[in-house]
Symmetry: C2
Subunit: 228 residues, 2 copies
């Protein structure tokens, strides 16, 4: 009887110990599963000049008549992906907010994308440079007319940033001014980064400039600048 009790105790001890031993592995496995389920943060590098492609399918407003250029558009442009279409997609993913801090903004496609987001109820705020607001084909006037808040500098330095923040989660930044000249002809780069730290730092910079360019603080009429 005594021997039997010791046998049971030994088996129970081994069982318990094995169960305890397996625990970290099981936890590890569960944690790894959860990590795999999480989508990896978005990282993309776009180089320009961008191939000229049709972006109509991307820019179709939901309420527009189906007679407009549809998803199966037959215009003569290529319909594949390009650096511009990837940039448009990254912007059009916005659901709640879009901050734009842009030296020059005259690309009609990017202008339409921003107006679309505004129509969808996304809170759009734009900071730009006062000297480049009147650029040929500038989108700034159109955005203001559509009811989007735009603020600009009134000093001699350039507001030379070229970044966007989508839903306070994704930072889009690089050398690219949002002009057709730059998109189609220049060597440029754009980084698209889902990165908490970078987004925080650039959002702080945006809010600093937004507050500084508050239109109630205008002190003088913008004057001509000298060099780039």
């Amino acid at each position: 009887m005594e021997r039997f009790r010791w046998q049971v105790a030994a088996v129970a001890a081994v069982g318990l110990a094995l169960a305890l031993e397996a625990l970290p592995s099981v936890l590890c496995w569960l944690r790894a599963g959860r990590r795999q389920q999480q989508r990896p943060p978005r990282r993309q590098v776009l180089f320009f000049p961008s191939q000229v492609t049709c972006t109509e399918a991307l820019l179709q407003a939901p309420g527009e008549a189906p007679s407009g250029p549809p998803a199966g558009c037959r215009c003569s442009l290529p319909h594949g992906e390009s650096s511009l279409s990837r940039l448009l997609r990254a912007l059009l993913a916005a659901r709640a907010s879009l901050e734009l801090c842009l030296f020059a903004f005259s690309s009609p496609q990017l202008g339409r994308a921003v107006q679309l987001l505004h129509q969808r109820g996304v809170r759009v705020r734009v900071i730009t440079d006062c000297d480049y607001m009147a650029l040929n084909g500038s989108q700034i006037g159109l955005l203001r007319k559509a009811g989007i808040q735009v603020r600009h500098d009134q000093d001699l330095g350039y507001m030379h940033h070229k970044f966007a923040i989508v839903d306070k989660k994704v930072l889009i930044t690089g050398s690219l001014n949002w002009t057709t000249q730059a998109i189609q002809n220049n060597r440029e780069n754009v980084l698209i980064m889902e990165d908490e730290e970078y987004v925080r730092l650039f959002l702080e910079e945006f809010e600093r400039i937004w507050e500084e360019f508050n239109p109630t603080k205008y002190t003088f009429f913008p004057q001509k600048k000298r060099s780039h």
Copy 2:
């Protein structure tokens, strides 16, 4: 005697099981220790305009006479850190190679840093835009004269990148042209990223352009361009 044997077996089983149980934790602990020992990859965001500070101590060539501005320089400028001094530090960390892909380059401090690296035996290669090579105070002629290889475009689009790659390990990129105007007056950003993937992609872009701008392939003399 039999009872004693079972007691020994039970104790041995528990001991073995406990040892096995502890194994993953010990491995985990060792691995965590190794991770902590590794320096975290460098990530820095610089915003401009930069405070004007004295950068002489950083730019002192090793062979220069000690009568030049020393580490304890007494000039009237502040001697603390600034965005420019941080950018200089990131560049001056180069030991083997430096690729520069810059639209405009006229900052004398950044020019001196690049010349210092060249003197130290770092392999420096520069790509720039042909229209901005003759900018007031351009550093490009000085770099060429010092024996640094410079290549430039010969087409109508701008070579508008503003990036550097240090030792094929650190990418420095952003909106900043390397001019005193931009450094001291503009709103600008520069990212410093020790990131294998970004470095690989930007190095590929550099090599593509380097090969394309090969001076043996010149086809015509640069002409005036139109708009930015």
